[in-house]
Amino acid sequence: MSNKQEWLKSSYQDAKERPIRFSTVSDMEIDPLYTPQDVSGSYDEKLGNPGEYPYTRGPYGSMYRGRLWTMRQFAGFGLAEDTNQRFHFLLKQGQDGLSTAFDMPTLMGYDADHERAQGEVGREGVAVSTIDDMMTLFKGIPLDKVTTSMTVNCSASVLLAMYLVMAERTGVPWERIGGTIQNDMLKEFIAQKEWISPPAPSLRVVTDMIEFCAKKVPRWHAVSISGYHIRECGSTAVQELAFTLADGVCYVEDAMKRGLNVDEFGPRLSFFWNIHNDFLEEVAKLRAARRIWAKLMKERWGAKSERAMTLRCHAQTAGASLTAQQPINNVVRVAIQALAGVMGGVQSLHTNSMDETLALPTENAVMVALRTQQIIAEETGITNTIDPLGGSFAIEALTDKMEAEAMEYIRKIDEMGGMLKAIDTGYPQREIAEAAFAYQRQLEKNEKVVVGVNKYSIPEEIPIATLKIDRDLEERQIHRVRKNKRERNSTSVKDALKRVAEACRSGENLMPPICDAVRVGGSVGEISDIYRTEFGVYTDPGWI
């Protein structure tokens, strides 16, 4: 029997289904069986070999046989020296790239000594207010050998400038430093909600950085277009895919409007995905993302560069999928999510630690998370062949479905006039909030199961050790920042900040004057204050 409909009527109908809805964690309905009837198009058109258009099977020809993905654990807490120690620990454990988590004041553009920083210094990441903090953070790290990712957005221009000035001071030319700065402001308004100024000037700063890096820091990724936070905020997998790529459309078109060549800056765009629990959906999402981006590059923007057409990505397992209940179970969730990431062909991966719903991770928990990746890489055999799930009827059908549904969202956003307009009307924000609420309802009605939470729960939790952040460190950091400000040449800082303000007004690229300001000791908060004055302050519309 080769006809699916006939099979459904004859053989399947008599079989007894369990009384549940067969759908993904994103509530996408899944067929009992996928057959050749569910896939269309030719191999060359839909898949292509790895490293060949449309890159569905992978951005590189040899994938993990050539080089394993970069194991990059996101780390940051306390003062710069605390995180520096964690960095050295991770590199010693076999990690090959760094990823920096900054604290909330740094992320929001406040120095530790600002009143809004109260209670937040060093708690959710590492406190960096000045170039001196940055130098301490990366002490002993060879900047020409280790690539660094910095997760920071509205104050990203300042942190990048600090990294560049640090490279200068340690004698490493800008051409030799490599890394990524997240710098994806659009998804901040949509999901993560770290901002200083409104969307339009925020986009201008991002584009300044894309332009500057393309010319001066050729190995740097000036933006990591991120779905991670969109998903964590409660979106479905399709929404994550669609809104992220729509953000990408906005960045590319803004850079092109400025006269930049897509073949020149395109190769330096990178992406950042969330890897959630639903295995097949996640693998399909990563494959669909590569195909959509390649087509957009080629057909919409006329890119010629192969590298501009390939979507390369970092991924992180889903923080929101972890449970505070029976936290050791999180090790299993993370392993399965990481496996989906690898099956989906990611270039870089962070695996969450089991204790991250409770606190920042302990060294032991981080080691288990890193070992999880190493076990997948070295023991499972998954890396022997490229895109091992390619050609599965289910995977190909889901890849097609997610591509079609994401393209429908992208078309809608185009019709609204693009992502900046869509954000102004709250469209993606509301879509995500709806999905988050719907999922919560499903959990509470037991239509979706979270093991240890709404099923298989136990009355007495077994506690695990968590990391404690010393409450005195805030005082120490405030003291350090104030001392730094007293000891620098305040006239040069004032002059340099004035030049940043002038660049805000004149439209010239902001990075050179920001680098100058950092060189003479201008801080994260001071430069962010220039944005506040020149571009205005964005406040949360507070939609529910």
Binding site: L107, E120, R123, E232, L358, Q440, D540
Partner: protein, 134 residues
Amino acid sequence: MADKRLRIIVAKPGLDGHDRGAKIIARALRDAGFEVIYTGLHQTPEMIAEATVQEDADAVGLSVLSGAHMTLFPEVLRLLKEKGADDVAIFGGGIIPEEDATKLKQMGVREIFTPGASTEDIVKWVHANVHPRE
């Protein structure tokens, strides 16, 4: 008096942008029939205390996932007391370790909900523990 609709402020103090939980709670409380005012993100304790008095709220739900709860919660309590509104029921949620939750309750926070709490639990708690202010 008994049929007065309770007014509840759902607030996000501090710099933390994790608003998924706060929005879900705000919506669930609204669906349960309460009058809900959501402050939006990045509120200072002063802004929250001010809104509580202005809006004549009966309860304030604070959501913090950044670890700054031991600074921000007590500050809201202090300011409400200063404004003579310390009978407003303060409850909260977020990534809050048990030992901190115990301390916060000793300081006057009525209840702390942690990851995995259902909206139904929270609605039930409000029904049982929040009463219209005189």
